[in-house]
Symmetry: D2
Subunit: 395 residues, 4 copies
């Protein structure tokens, strides 16, 4: 029957996807020295070996242990080490301690990955993933791993970029992504629009509940802000004038003596920035990178404009160029109307973070292929700069 074929194809596809995604995490770490896998220079950054273990632990804990009867746990102590924030599944290493753990070693973690991947292959062979509830969890695990792939790149950049030797991650620099197309403001009329995930395929629970919103007339830029444009703000004394900033943003500026985006260094009177290819001259045409919400809002304020709301962004998404930077919106991260969190540990995925964070839309050069869509709701605290973040203006 046709339906069967489709299902089978989907299942084969799922297995292939599992292999590809799991392999991609390993590829991301391939250029690292063993030492790079271990450190945690700030609380927001996790050691790369922790990401590799934690994403594996996800499949072990939520798929193999509950659904694969013959599964033998690899090491009972790993649950304590690799649980991130799931209160449902027991005690965990506090986040600030992750960088203090030299063991399990990198090689032990790769063994753990291999072991779980082998078991997952048996799991696939037995067709367990054809059960609806399981395939849903599997999709979640794969999307979870893709999220950690982006975190891996951000964290690796932070680890290497805050080392006084400024080592490169990659040796062959790709040409910097520069903004070629003109940046224009395009208009949308006031109306009731619809936002939220629609269609088939995977999405996170926080995107669900497609719903109507009323938007006032607005204009939005087709391109994100460039380094050169942001430099004008700096040179106009942007970091010295409290009037552009939120009160908490201005406190952040003063406490951190902030005067430029993360990774920018003025050396011998020239602006340089650390990139995955090492320290390089700042490219003025490249999309601005690594600014926090306070900086994004201050810049927009200085321009006499504002950040778009997440609804405006989603409505405009098909007509603007996006995908290079996660774009700070002016929307707080809150539940959509009718939001329901799932029962059990996976219900801790998104809902409990819906406070005191702002929504980012789009995706970035660090986002794995196939892991972006216009309804995607990313979120971070307002002071964080270490993600690949940028600014799009609206008014």
């Amino acid at each position: 029957m046709k339906t069967e074929n489709i299902i089978t194809d989907h299942m084969t596809e799922l297995e292939a996807k599992y292999k590809a995604i799991r392999n991609h995490s390993v590829q991301i770490c391939a250029p690292l020295a063993i030492e790079d896998y271990v450190v945690q220079p700030i609380v927001d950054v996790s050691p790369p070996k922790w990401h590799l273990g934690h994403t594996t632990w996800f499949f072990e804990t939520f798929l193999l242990i509950p659904y694969f009867p013959e599964y033998q746990v690899f090491d009972t102590q790993y649950n304590y080490v690799f649980n991130s924030y799931y209160e449902t599944v027991g005690a965990r290493v506090i986040r600030t301690d992750r960088g203090n753990l030299s063991r399990p070693s990198v090689s032990d973690i790769y063994k753990y990955r291999a072991y779980v991947d082998d078991q997952m292959q048996l799991f696939f062979k037995q067709g367990l993933h054809t059960i609806q509830a399981i395939s849903t969890l599997l999709e979640l695990g794969l999307n979870h791993e893709q999220q950690h792939q982006e975190l891996l790149i951000s964290d690796i950049k932070y680890i290497l970029g805050h080392n006084p030797l400024f080592p490169s991650y990659r040796n062959n620099p790709a040409p910097a992504k520069s903004q070629s197309a003109a940046n224009e403001m395009i208009s949308f009329p006031a109306a009731v629009y619809e936002i939220g995930f629609e269609g088939k395929g995977f999405c996170f629970d926080n995107e669900l509940g497609r719903h109507q919103v009323y938007l006032q007339e607005f204009e939005i830029a087709t391109q994100v802000v460039t380094n050169g444009e942001y430099l004008e703000f700096i040179e106009d004394g942007g970091y010295q004038d409290f009037r552009h900033w939120h009160a908490e943003g201005w406190d952040w500026v003063k406490e951190n003596d902030a005067h430029a985006p993360l990774y920018w260094h003025k050396i011998d009177d020239q602006w340089m920035h650390y990139t995955l290819f090492g320290l390089r001259t700042l490219d003025l045409n490249e999309a601005l990178n690594h600014i926090n919400y306070f900086e994004a809002a201050a810049y927009a304020n200085w321009k006499g404009m504002r950040l778009p709301t997440e609804a405006e962004w989603e409505i405009a998404a098909d007509k603007i160029h996006w995908g290079d930077r996660w774009e700070w919106t002016g929307s707080a991260y809150l539940p959509y109307p009718g939001f329901k969190k799932e029962a059990g540990a996976v219900g801790e995925y998104n809902g409990k973070f819906m406070i005191n964070q702002m929504v980012l839309r789009g995706s970035s050069e660090a986002t794995p292929t196939g892991h972006s869509r216009k309804s995607y709701r990313n979120f971070f605290h307002t002071q964080l700069q270490w993600q690949f973040t940028g600014i799009r203006l609206a008014r």
Copy 2:
């Protein structure tokens, strides 16, 4: 001419209002010992004498100095002492230091008030307040003083309620406000509604820009939650079960060993709470008081409901009973569409705080008469309990 009369009346009214409001601040402090005016037990609480000086400084700085040529500054050093957060008007005592200042003395501050009030009388006599821009500032100064009147009561309650002797503020206890009317859920259909300030009279800049919003169908309670209802949550282990809480809320519970609202004490197995009349047995029918956003959200979650958004609240306002408690909403404090902050120091009033806080709607028993309206947008950080705050459920 008729218009003239109206204006004159309005002006006389403004002068009378000035006297009444200024006098009310003094009345609030009348029961205090000198010592009570001085202390600052936590950073969010200001010493009562600071409130009395700061509200006076507002009129001196924004009205008398710029608009009253013959005005002689009372004491040039007071600007440093009584500036709260206006970066535009120079250096200031940092907030955590307010409780370290024994001088100016309470009596000096009352002299300062009398001096400024005398000068304001001359100011009124000369009719300066008939100039539009000035009367706007005057209205702002009076509303500002009313906000500090509510803070005075919250802060006095904190100062006395955290003293091991539990002194009373007032001696003749008013009967506790109890919920008599039945609490029902009333429904509103999905539609485009309008919110924001309309009509004449004063409002803050953050209420301006009346605008359309689309609301899904919703239900909202006609009454706020009582002590008795909240006690059920406590007795059901609400403070011990992470599943009800935001992640940051759960951190707050653990760090503070939280197990009940502020001012609740279990003594000899009986629930007591500190009130402005001293320590008293908890009244189960009274409206719940002094909970933070995390507690409000956890309670709603436990009930299988949620907090209303600020738009839902405003739409429903005419059909629900409100005014006893500031009610936490599920809306982040963000600018309304088209929000513009004013030029100069008064522009620092609201806009720069529009991040990482939640909106509260309504007003409380501590709000001065005439200082509430349904479009009013109050806002506090999510961990704060010391205001007169409560919970209204929605779904």
Copy 3:
């Protein structure tokens, strides 16, 4: 009999001493505004009203309650408020919270003093103080109060001297104490010497155990260092050169951006200092005041000398001019050979602090008359500046 007369005289004397000392505490506070009694700008400073209550609590707790059967406790909650550090006698307000307590009010505390003083008069009338163990405790209580008299002056100076209005404590400035006599280095030969309290009269337990010490040959200055001499150190870049400082001292300099003694202010290019008479031009001939151990040691190091040990100081005491400043020594505060702490709460007086503090010798302009002797061992942590401290050189 003769002996009886002597005892009687001693007892009358003790009662007279009680009255005089108790009254002196009140005299010290006479110039204060009520507000000045309440604040605690840093943890080391206690509110004056706390000192008045705590010294009274000492007599209530250690004399009246255990030894005066008819005594009725003034207020059972005061033990919680006025216990300083005696673990033996129950829970206490943590030190950083003293400045958050507006009650008991100043007037309540004066009532408490009057009540306890009245009861003590009955106590004396009944001759209870003629019992040896009791007269010992009484002497301890009086010396304890004298220690708090010095703390009162230091704390009042800090409270007023850190107020932006710089109020005076006294109105009629006494002429500043200037160094008139020449400062010479006098020598002592190497020998076995004896130190520790000897003779009759009161001393603290930490002075007891007169014992032999071997001292190498040493020289010691007859005078303490003046402001003018210390200014040379400042002008020679003393606060900018790590080589003069202990590692912890240099950390202290950098963390606090230290560049001069406490209370020194350079205003319009002139050195001023805050005194109990207000802000005044620095007198170069006056004894240096308000430096911590790190500064004392760095200065001595810069001079190519060192601080005397406490044994050297005591041996030289009869031949040097002392009494204006507490003088930092190079000796750590440790028990004398054979030191034994007393049983019960009074045993907590000195012994438990014998770690991580340095000994100061002498006495200061803030020490009450009759409360100094050459065997007195004062002690403070190395970073503290708020006492009346100075430097004497040795080599």
Copy 4:
């Protein structure tokens, strides 16, 4: 000539010693996984790779660069990474950041060691070490490396012992060192004694200035305290009774919820401790290990005794059994009479730490062979437990 031969022998010996000591550091690290070289779980612990680099940097900075003209610096950025606390030689990575640096890699650091060792061989070949000033520095460098060898073992134990997997450092457990000989108190009469380094060979500047001290009659134990003896203190409620403790010690107990020495774990009602061979049953006859000064003093106090002073210890050294544990003394770490620090960076070695630390005497099982003598003055802050520390009683 005879003298020449002696010198030559000494010099050959020095070269041999250099090789042996440098090689020993490498041997200590041989059992480590690469990951173990990188982490810094607390500020007092340094990453093993940092120790390997820092000890090498010492020879490069203080010998090769100033005295070996043809020397080419290995990497100019290493000075920034491997300077520990020498202000004289420029900026350095702040101590808490050492564990955030994944680079230089372990293999790079071994290359650095090999490079510097090769250069030192040339240095020896040219006979530069026969110059007196240079051989003195060389001896200092070697003793410095030996100190870091002990730190390496302490730090490795901390890194592995605080890992939830409790990995072993060594696989073949040596039999635990148990106290076999009887523990007796031996007496010394009151007299003038002499302490301080005497004889030939190397010593640190803080041991110099042999001098007379007067000691009262004292008794001292021939053995250190065992685990079993300390367990009695625990079982007697030692950690629950403030009376045994210094005030700062009692604060430490409460803040850290201390209830046993570092590395002790009560598992299934049995006392275990982590050793370099993994988690093992507590041996009651073994010398107590890993207690801080507060614990040592509290134990002695509970026993009705005290810790010996450093002078008592040194006088008694030939008659007591020592060498298993660094023994806390009751002496503060202060300069000996006539102490002079050397000019230049090496003068920062000891003198600037002579404040707020206590002296430890003896040596431990972690001390390298040949690196102990009875005049050795070790020193640590009073709260630190991670060294191999124990207790000897005196009275």
